[in-house]
């Protein structure tokens, strides 16, 4: 059971809360011994409560997954997200457009943010590829998997 008090219409679908609890979720009342509220069907269905991100080395065979490992400085790296992107790629079935929306600025538009945090706690918002830096925030997603 999760308590959505104060966040009933907007909450983070975290792995911590939903991993292992895939399936239908129902509205319950603590005044009724936490049984499903009569006459109310499933409120939502949890299928894949996670975004998996892996760190890849494109210069190794098949873009080896180097997540959680050590690499020499100078290694080129890519990030790959390979699940839960279907709702992004099929917008009219699941959501309205969230990219280049009227009223949203450059930092609030887009589908995904990638957070890269240094040991000193600084969160990087851009990363360099040679002389150019690329943003990590408000990323548009066009393919699955997304790299």
């Amino acid at each position: 059971m999760i308590d959505l008090t104060g966040r009933a219409t907007y909450f983070t679908v975290s792995q911590f809360e939903f991993e292992g609890h895939e399936g239908n979720w129902y509205l319950v009342a603590n005044t009724m011994n936490n049984i499903a509220k009569p006459g109310v069907g499933a409120v939502f269905n949890v299928k894949s409560p996670r975004l998996n991100l892996t760190i890849r080395n494109p210069d190794q065979y098949d873009g080896a997954d180097v997540s959680g490992t050590s690499v020499p400085i100078g290694t080129r790296l890519q990030f790959q997200i390979d699940n839960n992107l279907y709702p992004v790629l099929v917008p009219f079935s699941f959501r309205g457009p969230v990219y280049h929306q009227t009223g949203y600025g450059a930092n609030s538009d887009g589908y995904l943010d990638i957070k890269v945090k240094c040991e000193n706690g600084t969160t990087l918002t851009r990363l360099y590829d040679n002389q150019l830096s690329w943003t990590l925030i408000a990323l548009n997603v066009t393919t699955q998997p997304y790299t």
């Binding site: 909450f11 792995q15 409120v43 490992t69 400085i73 990030f79 959501r95 969230v98 890269v116 830096s133």
Partner: protein, 153 residues
């Protein structure tokens, strides 16, 4: 692509999260919509080794009338490109050169100031590409005032 050549050694924690609350997952048709943001478990990458010349230490540079000579390899000698970096046409005579981490990537970018107008090289490519991707700030200062920068918060 992330080229780690100029990043300091250490462990970096990487995660991804959906951005807007209309990332609507697993919504049952016919029921009230619930909106959620999804986040990933963080993963890490550790950068080891490295060339001292590409450390995070601050290096010197020199500026004159829109031309910048930046001692990127930190040896105190002008070696020319590609070891060092020459930037041309970023500024004009009488303008004040600025440096700072405008985009939060821990590297230093250049900028230029004149009478309340700021041109900041947000994407760090050493060229003025317009706003966006670079940053133009107007009416923040007046003639005779001195620009200052810092991480105020």
């Amino acid at each position: 692509m992330w080229n780690t050549s100029t990043y300091p050694p250490g462990t970096y924690t990487v995660s991804v999260e959906s951005k807007l609350n209309n990332m609507q997952f697993n919504y049952l048709s016919g029921s009230s919509p619930y909106y959620g943001r999804t986040v990933s478990q963080p993963t890490t990458i550790t950068l080891v080794g490295g060339n001292p010349s590409t450390s995070t230490a601050t290096k010197i540079g020199i500026y004159k009338d829109g031309i910048w000579y930046l001692d990127v390899n930190g040896n105190g000698v002008w070696d020319g490109a590609p070891s060092d970096t020459l930037v041309t046409a970023f500024g004009m005579p009488g303008w004040t050169p600025l440096v700072g981490d405008w985009n939060g990537d821990t590297k230093t970018e250049i900028g230029i100031y004149k009478d309340g107008t700021w041109y900041l090289d947000m994407n760090g490519n050493g060229a003025w590409n317009g706003d966006p991707p670079d940053k133009l700030v107007t009416y923040f200062g007046m003639p005779g005032w001195t620009p200052v920068i810092g991480k105020w918060s």
